[in-house]
């Protein structure tokens, strides 16, 4: 049976290859920091089950230390020049989008076929994980297609992956860290504290007010932190899971997905989300650095109300 472990090995191998090429890249003054950072990710994916919880904890501290003290930096792996890219794009045209489409199509078709045809009965894949397996399959098919069609150098996928991963930097481990933080919140009982406080404010049994508090909490938390990812584990622990899902029987998929989108409305309204709101204002040489936020606020508020309505009507059918 194909289990998650296979996928960890695939991703771990990719991180290991990227770490290896980082170590050899002398053009980047921080090449050892990058190599250590992606190397730790590779260790986590390849050997995380063997080294024990405490060693995993130290590994996370290592990642945080490397990122926090500025030991990692952007690199310039070998790639094509702007002129070459322009030439390729004119030659290949819109067909260039097709290999990218292979990934979601494979995942979607694969998941549907696995769940709704006899193939699923064979039990080839760990239950509930088939989408990830088909995602990986889609990536491999897309890579094979690109190799057969455009014939890049053998190391190009690793180098191009490294270019993008280094551009993302430590933010690449942020969602995983925040999910782990959510687990710790649950273990330490943070959610119960906020939840009890909330329950004492919201009248018992008012689904509407609970949805409102959940949404406002997501948006406000996001406005303060600049990131909806950080808000989600807290609000899920405090209100989403204990009240909306457990007490009132809300659909967890709606509460989770649309709750996150309510947080995204907060992202549109906060200068803390500098990448999205302040950097473009600077790039476009706006006089008012909050100009982009001002253009977004009406859309964000309308969408916020719309998302609350979706939770209220769709989660409690």
């Amino acid at each position: 049976m194909i289990t998650l472990h296979w996928l960890y090995v695939l991703a771990g191998t990719m991180f290991a290859a990227i770490a290896f090429l980082s170590a050899l890249d002398r053009s980047n003054p921080k090449h050892f920091g990058n190599a250590a950072f992606w190397g730790l990710m590779a260790v986590s994916l390849l050997a995380g089950d063997l080294i024990g919880d405490f060693a995993n904890g130290l590994l996370v501290l290592g990642l945080a230390g490397l990122a926090g003290f500025g030991f990692i930096g952007r690199s310039q792996p070998p790639t094509t020049s702007m002129e070459e890219r322009q030439r390729w794009s004119e030659e290949v045209g819109n067909r260039l989008f097709l290999p990218a489409l292979i990934i979601p199509v494979t995942a979607l078709v694969g998941t549907l076929a696995y769940n709704y045809t006899a193939v699923g009965q064979l039990g080839w894949i760990e239950p509930k994980r088939e989408t990830y397996v088909f995602l990986a399959l889609g990536v491999l098919i897309a890579l094979a297609t690109i190799f057969a069609w455009l014939k890049p150098p053998l190391l190009a996928p690793v180098q191009e992956g490294r270019r993008l991963l280094d551009a993302i930097g430590w933010a690449a481990v942020l969602p995983q860290m925040l999910a782990a933080l959510g687990v710790l919140f649950a273990a330490a009982g943070v959610g119960e504290i906020i939840g009890t406080a909330t329950r004492s404010v919201i009248p018992e049994g008012s689904i509407f007010l609970t949805v409102l508090v959940f949404g406002v909490g997501m948006a406000l938390f996001t406005i303060i932190m600049g990131n909806a990812f950080a808000a989600f584990p807290v609000m899920a622990a405090a209100i989403g899971v204990p009240l909306l899902i457990q007490a009132y029987g809300g659909d967890p998929a709606v509460v989770g997905a649309v709750g996150m989108l309510a947080g995204f409305c907060g992202t549109l309204m906060t200068p803390m989300a500098a990448n999205f709101n302040l950097v473009p204002a600077a790039l476009l040489e706006l006089k008012d650095q909050n100009g982009v936020i001002k253009a977004q606020i009406p859309t964000a508020l309308c969408l916020f109300v719309a998302n609350l309505a979706i939770i209220y009507f769709a989660a409690f059918r």
């Binding site: 991703a11 904890g57 794009s89 290949v92 998941t111 933080l181 899971v241 996150m260 982009v292 979706i310």
Partner: protein, 198 residues
């Protein structure tokens, strides 16, 4: 994040070793989130062969639209490409600054004549805003994205084991509403630009 994890654990009455172990176990249990990065070599390879240049060529074809219509089409382009995992083909440095904002300004000048500074600022701010709205309310339809996997893993902590596609499906209604709400505002922008200068 790490610091707040440790503080939270200590305040919750755990000893330091227990905190580090709990955090380490939780990180290990959430490794599936790192899976989303396996798409990067594919995207990087396509960029090597001019994916961003091709995206630019597509956007340039919108040249004959009004400001509002141009931005509505860009909103749609951004939502659709983000929904299939191509969120990195566009963005503020890649497309807004070099293409969308200048084209929106040119279209506004064609309709309205010379723009005063406040109007020019507004058109540029709307171009950037359109990119953000399109990205935020498109990307979650692609299930292999940090936010969807984070939701899935957080809910799994409480015993709700959802498939990522179920969550991605519920991003679609908001995406459609985002298109109509922001599209309506862009239509209003067009009307305002068309009004004779006072």
């Amino acid at each position: 994040v790490t610091a707040s994890a440790i503080v939270t654990g200590l305040l919750g009455g755990m000893d330091p070793v227990e905190v580090i172990s709990t955090f380490g176990k939780a990180f290990n249990d959430n490794r599936i989130i790192a899976m989303v990065w396996i798409v990067l070599p594919v995207i990087g390879l396509l960029e090597r062969f001019g994916l961003q240049q091709q995206a630019g060529a597509l956007i340039r074809k919108l040249r004959n639209a009004t400001t509002g219509r141009l931005l509505i089409l860009y909103l749609l382009y951004r939502q659709l490409t983000a929904a299939i995992g191509l969120h990195s083909t566009a963005g503020h440095p890649q497309t807004v600054r070099p293409l969308v904002a200048p084209m929106a300004l040119a279209a506004a000048e064609k309709e309205h004549g010379e723009l005063d500074e406040a109007t020019a600022e507004k058109v540029k701010a709307y171009a950037a805003a359109t990119d953000n709205v399109g990205l935020f309310f498109g990307e979650d339809i692609f299930f292999a994205i940090g936010s969807i996997v984070l939701i899935q893993q957080t809910l799994a902590t409480y015993g709700y084991n959802l498939a990522p596609l179920e969550l991605a499906l519920w991003a679609i209604p908001s995406a459609i509403l985002a298109f109509f709400i922001h599209g309506f505002r862009l239509w209003l922008l067009d009307r305002k630009l068309r009004a004779p200068a006072r």
